[in-house]
Amino acid sequence: MKMLTSTQRVEYAISLKEPDVVPIAIIGVNFNFAYCGIPIGEATSNPDLQAKAHLKVFEDFRPDIVYAILVPPIISEAYGSKVKVLVSGYIAVEKPCLTSRSDLDKLEKVSLLDNVKIKAGIKAVNIVKNSIGEQAPVMSGFESSFTTAIRIMGAEKLMLSLYDDPSFVHDALKLITDDLCELAEELVNAGSDMLFIADPAASSSMISPKHYREFALPYEKRLIQKAEQLGARTTLHICGDTTNLMADIASIKPSIFSFDQKVKPKTAKELLGKYCCLMGNIDPTLLLTGSKEEIERAVAICITEAAVNGGFILAPGCGIATKTPPQNLQAMINSARTIGIYPIKTS
């Protein structure tokens, strides 16, 4: 097969076909800044710095997707939560802003699109897209409604509210989803070809499949449908063990489902491979601390179990750590470029 562009390669995978070689993505927005030595606190309000980081990671490692998602807690901050920058290169919510039903009125008045940092994130996507053109798809995105709710309410409060006051949780989720739909539109208008919708808190390591179906799935579905209307591809990412959620995930049809290292690639392929493209699942801990040989072995397992017949993108199973050694990422990419040539050899 002739060599495809990254954009074509990803499109083949999304159409569940075999491209020339398994496409690759690197996920972990905080890594992008750490790798370029840009303090995250500065990056969030500076579109040029953000774009520089996203482009540098793309240029240095040459994956097939430009990863340019909004720094997660800025949405929570825009709603009024107090955040702080941690020494580890992450931003965390220090004081959630949604503690009772009466706070919903305040949230109602917030326009995410007027927030300086969100504007900066959207602008960064635009700069990235203008620079990349059609070389590779640009993937922006944000955390899904349930995970945003957990950030703005605090984990304990939200989880107890699932039992204490489910209608309050739904009201919050509806409000957040409306806002995220508007944000999705702006990101696509700015040049985002794909939307990464991350819902780590919806994982079965946190809540039951029953709660997932009630509180996470319907809102993920709305966001996916919105992106589809806008003509953007979607990547749904849920951390932890998602084996029991895969039938539900199949029903909401993301273009790509990004699965975590707690799921065996083989299992994901069996359960979901017919319904959507899969992306995963090299363990970020391995990328942080493993040897070149260990990483190569993991890539081989992943590709032989999940990439046969296409419909697969090789990527870390979750956002990579800020201190991930670049040579480890390079090892992941080099081996995927070799082992991942179609047709895949399974032995």
Partner: protein, 225 residues
């Protein structure tokens, strides 16, 4: 049968029944009912210390349900809250001399990480098991752990992290213990999302726990040695 035996027998029946009810209502996470039952416990003169041990039994069942995938974090949190409510009513009635002096544990989420849900559950479980817990909170610099261990003479240090990046900080805390000559004075137990028993061994920790319920068992075992 003598009248006294009958009364004692009835007391035993009602105590067993009450115990059963307390355990059920904690497992089901019924906070209001657990407060009502706590007052009943005190009213009929059951030893508060014994009543608190029922909580451990209840949380053991919760732990089993969690392991079997019947319970998830919201259900565990509901149970923990019901237990806390029960303990809050009963605890003031504990007579100090009747409680066994248990070990002191310093607990915290390491620097760079603010995910405190797991750590908070560990604290609750340990407190219910009668330990003296010093909770340093989250995003705790290594120096603060050292300071707290020095001040409290703690026997156990519990470290938690949820992120891949920050779990490496646990190793730094252990190095800091060595630098300060405290490594032999305290046993280190770690836990949290990305950690594994192999990782615990690698960084030189003494124990690893997959969840809050197991943490109590691991710590009790370490203290027996």
């Amino acid at each position: 049968m003598l009248e006294g035996d009958v009364i004692r027998g009835l007391r035993k029946v009602s105590r067993d029944q009450l115990k059963h009810e307390v355990i059920r209502c904690i497992v089901e996470g019924d906070q209001e009912e657990s407060i009502r039952l706590a007052h009943k416990v005190l009213a009929i003169g059951i030893n508060p210390y014994e009543a608190i041990t029922w909580c451990s039994e209840a949380m053991k069942l919760v732990g089993e349900k969690f392991e079997r995938g019947e319970y998830f974090l919201p259900e565990v949190l509901m149970a923990a809250r019901a237990m806390q409510a029960f303990v809050d009513v009963v605890k003031p009635h504990l007579k100090i001399d009747k409680t066994i002096k248990k070990a002191t544990i310093v607990l915290g989420v390491v620097a760079g990480d603010i995910h405190n849900l797991g750590k908070n559950l560990v604290r609750l479980m340990l407190e219910a098991a009668g330990f003296n817990v010093i909770d340093l909170g989250e995003d705790v610099p290594k120096e603060k752990f050292i300071e707290a261990i020095r001040e409290s003479n703690a026997e156990i240090l519990g470290l938690s992290a949820l992120m891949t990046t920050t779990m490496l900080e646990m190793k730094e805390v252990i190095k800091e213990l060595i630098r300060n000559g405290l490594r032999d004075k305290v046993k280190v137990v770690i836990g949290g999302g990305p950690t594994t028993p192999e990782f615990a061994r690698e960084i030189g920790a003494d124990g690893w726990a997959p969840d809050a319920m197991e943490a109590v068992r691991v710590i009790e075992k370490l203290l027996e040695r």
